[in-house]
Subunit: 401 residues, 2 copies
């Protein structure tokens, strides 16, 4: 019995551990989990009951691989209000945004094909792409998005088919790609003929400042596949995402979805449609923004107070994550093993295509309470201080010898 080559090539992304609930007494900054107190349980319960009462037989039957049309229509409207050109016929529904990543890689990637990712990037994207055995090219993320100079150099040296980016509140750094860089990226896509996969699950969750146009909006050349999801703005337990692209790309992706899982749950699509008929999603998102802004503020404040000198920390204007950069010689996995009984996070090791960087820490601030954020940050800062003491004394020892 021999597995496919892709299994040997695949690295462990440890996604399961990421999404696990924290143990008792432990503060988890690890998984990108929404605050469960903000889930509209009652409204969703009514929506399911409404869908099953008025159209039970239709809800429970097979439907279509593209997805329930009225819901696609609503998502197209939601996208257009954000400047993204979209219509019912250019939107398909997916099993969370994750499936959109899987299907896009399935459409384009042969083993060895060039695929650009950000460094660091979303671990789940690497897990999705790994199945298609790409040749990863990792581009460093600066405070205003991907390093475009390094990207151009890379494109000059390697053929690239697909580029994956989270331009808004990037996972894991929380940074936003500047307008200048968005335009540069699109120009590079034209020049070097590649597709851009724009993953935008955090886009609606801006806590300050003004949003920039999506890559899809700026795209004059139909090179951008834009992906979104209800996971962060409604509930991840629904597993409903979407993808918008040209009709030509979409029809291929719908065929691939048929092969992957036939279709998304008809009941789920109709219940969410029913929820949107009787609730104001915009109002719900405003509530999320206000709660998450306060949590982000609490975490930033706690880290500014507690982090030792020489340790960097991103200042996100939205999203779920904050990124800590450690000085040379530090090891985020060692820090985690020191503090994991009290506080957990995602070490950078799983967040790079080459899994080779140990100097970053991803902190999700959305799930824990403000109290837990303060407690967890204090523990984390302690552990980082111990790491620095250890690293510095090792350095001094080496210098003496």
């Amino acid at each position: 019995m021999q597995f496919a080559q892709r299994i040997d090539d695949q690295m462990d992304s440890n996604l399961e551990a990421l999404l696990a609930a924290p143990a008792a007494g432990q503060v988890s900054f690890a998984g990108g989990l929404p605050d469960p107190q903000l889930f509209p349980e009652r409204e969703l319960s009514s929506a399911f009951s409404q869908a099953l009462t008025t159209a039970g037989a239709q809800c429970l039957q097979y439907a279509s691989a593209a997805g329930y049309e009225p819901l696609r229509q609503k998502i197209a409207h939601f996208l257009r209000r954000d400047g993204v050109p979209a219509s019912t016929n250019t939107v398909m529904l997916t099993q969370g945004a994750q499936q959109a990543l899987d299907l896009t890689a399935r459409l384009f990637i042969n083993p060895g094909d060039g695929l650009v990712v950000e460094g660091p990037t979303y671990a789940g994207a690497l897990a999705a792409f790994d199945a298609y055995q790409p040749h990863y090219l990792s581009i460093p993320v600066r405070s205003d998005g991907m390093d475009m100079t390094i990207l151009r150099q890379t494109l000059e040296q390697h053929p690239v088919k697909l580029l994956y980016t989270v331009p808004d509140f990037q996972n894991p750094t929380g940074t936003v790609m500047s307008l200048r860089k968005r335009k540069q990226l699109l120009a590079l896509a034209r020049e070097f003929d590649f597709i851009i996969l724009e993953d935008a699950p955090y886009r609606s969750l801006r806590y300050r400042g003004i949003g920039l146009p999506t890559l899809r909006e700026l795209d004059t050349d139909d090179r951008v596949i834009h992906v979104g999801s209800f996971s962060k703005i409604l509930s991840p337990g629904l597993r409903l995402g979407w993808l918008t692209a040209t009709p030509a790309l979409l029809s291929r992706l719908i065929t691939l979805k048929s092969g992957a899982d036939l279709e998304t749950s008809n009941l789920m699509m109709r219940a969410i449609d029913s929820y949107l008929n009787t609730n104001d999603l915009g109002q719900h998102i405003r509530q999320l923004r206000s709660t998450y802004a306060a949590k982000q503020e609490a975490m930033s404040t706690a880290l500014q107070a507690g982090l030792p000198q020489g340790v960097g920390c991103s200042q996100p204007d939205g999203g779920f994550f904050l990124w800590v950069t450690l000085p040379e010689g530090c090891d985020s996995e060692r820090i985690l093993s020191r503090c994991r009984d009290h506080v957990t996070f995602v070490p950078s090791t799983t967040l790079y295509a080459a899994r080779n960087d140990r100097r970053g820490i991803r902190l999700a601030f959305t799930n824990p309470s403000t109290d837990d954020i303060q407690r967890g940050c204090a523990e984390l800062c302690n552990s980082i201080r111990q790491e620095l003491v250890m690293v510095n004394s090792t350095k001094q020892l080496q210098q003496r010898n």
Copy 2:
């Protein structure tokens, strides 16, 4: 912009069309759709409400790629009662059985690897496997399952990694693999070292006779991956299937599922679990059996009365499908284009790996009413008679010249 090689290799399975609702006035024997009158709408509505009321926050959060443990436990119990060795730790939940097929091919198949399928087979399986570019080897299905002589000859000539079969009420022929052939197949799997993917969505829907042990039950060598689903016994709109295999295989498949869509909807899994807590699935299945047995009877009777001599017809003891075999020279697609305003079905063209057989017709009897079955069969028999007249007169003309 260039698609991956798999896109060029892929043939159109037309799954979307298969699962579409029939047009007005049209009787559809095409899609394998359950009878919507048998969906437990009220019970499922209560189950969703129950799940969201008692554990809303948990239902709506991320959960686990393997699936909600209490539901896996119940499915393991359901499997054990059927003789299949299974425990919570050897069951994972999937996005319908379809995803189990996708993940299994993903685990084993490199481009060009030998994959045995039945001829004819389930079109959706071909759509799932196509993404991994296997070298298909198609083995004819007899009235007691795959032709084992041809299978052995094929295995002696080609290396094979995976074999896909629907041993119970095969899709599309409705046949059951005999016990002798089940044992032969397992012996061949040992001898030629391949994995068997046993797809059993129709297994509980036996209308007469006594069931045979599953391949997984007879498997002494851990070579069988057994797949099931709630689609045919509860509702396809839930999109919930499962897979049981050894823990070693399962852990790989769970990792692949993480990459494909992170996890199945937590809410869906918990609501189905809640449904099973308060309803008797066995009782529900007995009701399905009684309704479907009558429909199968009605279709068999109508076809026996109406089909011209020389046209064969399977006599399934369960499942969803009946298979019509046409004499040489006949073309099921031509028949369909003649009668499609009144009755539709699946022509054999999409049901063979090589898409080269035109002499078969798949008829699903579960969705239409008994009246529609009679009306549709009369139209179909008419159209087949016209085809025979045309084929025979062409033959006579050719013989004269």
